[in-house]
């Protein structure tokens, strides 16, 4: 790993102000993923990617994520995670910048440098391909204006032709048919998410309350042993956080990554309120390609 910094972060008061003001008044064009958003933010400030004013960009990045969370379309888990990874890295870097500058002597600092270098390396690579994509567009536009000579052979020459070679076997022939006969105009929608029924956090919470009242104490593993899929496990975990917020359970974990123990400390009877903030219907914003 090279220790040479890929970015020279310089936060100036002016750029912070600009960022905050502009962030909510300007409309960004549609972006496609966290790298795209990050690039657009950087170019909006007319900054070189290798000399990013980290603070301003981080603030705006987070602001956009918040904005999108509140937007009607909502976010799906996949997308949100992608963005969170980038946001978390940016926040780390920003935090490091706010600390008094010193030498890199600590393992955490080293890790931070690596994280920054990785993020910017990925961003640089993405920007390169984005620029290539615009070259592709120009080339395709140019090419669409050229029409190849594609005419049947002059009749007297056609008679001379040696016996034709199809050149492919039956299987390859079928593969060609498949490709040609596949409608090109219909957009491809990913329907994977449709197979998973929505899991209600509130519903899972009431199941957990029932079990804990009966047993008093359970491990997280035990609580999720009958979960049909990962979504249910996640819903139960979120339900536990809600219950913790309500002060009816206690967590214990003896060692890092060890077994998580949950103890019931609430009333033996009566209704436990669980907010439904996780149960807002979410539309996926899968990257669908309108062609």
């Amino acid at each position: 790993m090279s220790q040479k910094n890929l970015s020279t972060a310089q936060v100036t008061p002016a750029s912070i102000t600009d960022g905050r003001v502009a962030g909510f008044s300007l409309h960004l064009s549609n972006f496609d993923g966290p790298f795209d958003l990050l690039l657009q933010l950087i170019s909006k400030h007319k900054m070189d990617i290798t000399e990013v004013a980290l603070g301003a960009v981080t603030d705006e990045f987070i602001a956009y994520i918040k904005q999108l969370e509140n937007a009607e379309s909502g976010w799906d888990l996949d997308k949100t995670t992608e963005f969170l990874v980038v946001a978390a890295t940016l926040l780390d870097l920003k935090a490091a910048k706010l600390l008094p500058s010193g030498q890199v002597d600590d393992e955490a600092d080293l890790a931070l440098l690596e994280a920054r270098d990785l993020l910017f390396a990925r961003l640089l690579q993405y920007r390169a391909f984005k620029e290539i994509a615009s070259i592709f567009t120009e080339r395709i536009d140019r090419e669409d204006k050229s029409f190849a000579r594609l005419v049947a052979l002059e009749p007297h020459l056609a008679q001379l032709l040696p016996e034709v070679l199809i050149g492919v076997g039956a299987q390859r022939f079928a593969a060609i048919a498949n490709r040609v006969l596949t409608p090109k105009t219909s957009p491809v929608f990913s329907i994977d998410h449709l197979h998973q029924p929505t899991v209600s956090v509130a519903e899972q919470a009431s199941k957990i309350v029932e079990q804990l009242r009966r047993t008093g104490r359970m491990t997280f593993r035990g609580l999720t042993a009958d979960a049909e899929n990962t979504v249910v496990v996640i819903a139960r975990f979120l339900a536990l956080l809600e219950l913790y917020k309500e002060g009816v359970i206690r967590f214990e974990q003896m060692i890092s990554l060890g077994e998580l123990q949950i103890t019931w400390v609430g009333s033996a009877q009566g209704e436990v309120r669980v907010s439904d903030e996780f149960d807002v219907p979410v539309q996926t914003i899968d990257e669908t390609d309108n062609v």
């Binding site: 029409f147 190849a148 000579r149 594609l150 005419v151 049947a152 052979l153 002059e154 020459l157 056609a158 001379l160 032709l161 040696p162 016996e163 034709v164 070679l165 199809i166 050149g167 492919v168 076997g169 039956a170 299987q171 022939f173 079928a174 593969a175 060609i176 048919a177 498949n178 040609v180 006969l181 596949t182 409608p183 090109k184 105009t185 219909s186």
Partner: protein, 185 residues
Amino acid sequence: MSEVELHRCLEAILMVVDGPVSELVLAQIIEAPTDEISAALLSLTAKYESEQRGFELRQVSGGWRYYSHPEMAPLVEKFVLDGQQAKLTQAALETLAVIAYRQPVSRARVSAIRGVNVEAVMKTLVNRGLVEEAGVEGESGAILYQTTSFFLEKLGLNSIADLPALAPFLPDIDGLDELLSTLTD
């Protein structure tokens, strides 16, 4: 329009259009008087001859078309016989695939499915004995095409029923046909 410009327009159209194009059609597309088009075609033809081009413009069955120059016939015949032309092009293969799986089928429908004009390719496939006419479509009167027994032989199949099934991810035939008919109508 100057003669140079007219020549340019004529060259562009005639270079990529399959089959002879009449002076009347050329006049309509270029938006110039027919007699100017006729004159330009004649002067272009004379120019090619004086420049000793390898091709020529000829008026055949009511229209104009590019041909290789007759003096170059030995070379062109050698090229055609060489076997390089024996293999089907990608365009021909794709067209053949559509006909094989949708036969009997009209040229218009194959064009709609492939998204390009298949006139020239269709002629090639008929010339090569892989595809033949198969009557006319009831309403439209369009000529229908089907694959030949020579095609089966070349692909090593006993009958059309032996063609490998299309992959299951294609919409079922009913849905597909419906979709395709919206494209062709």
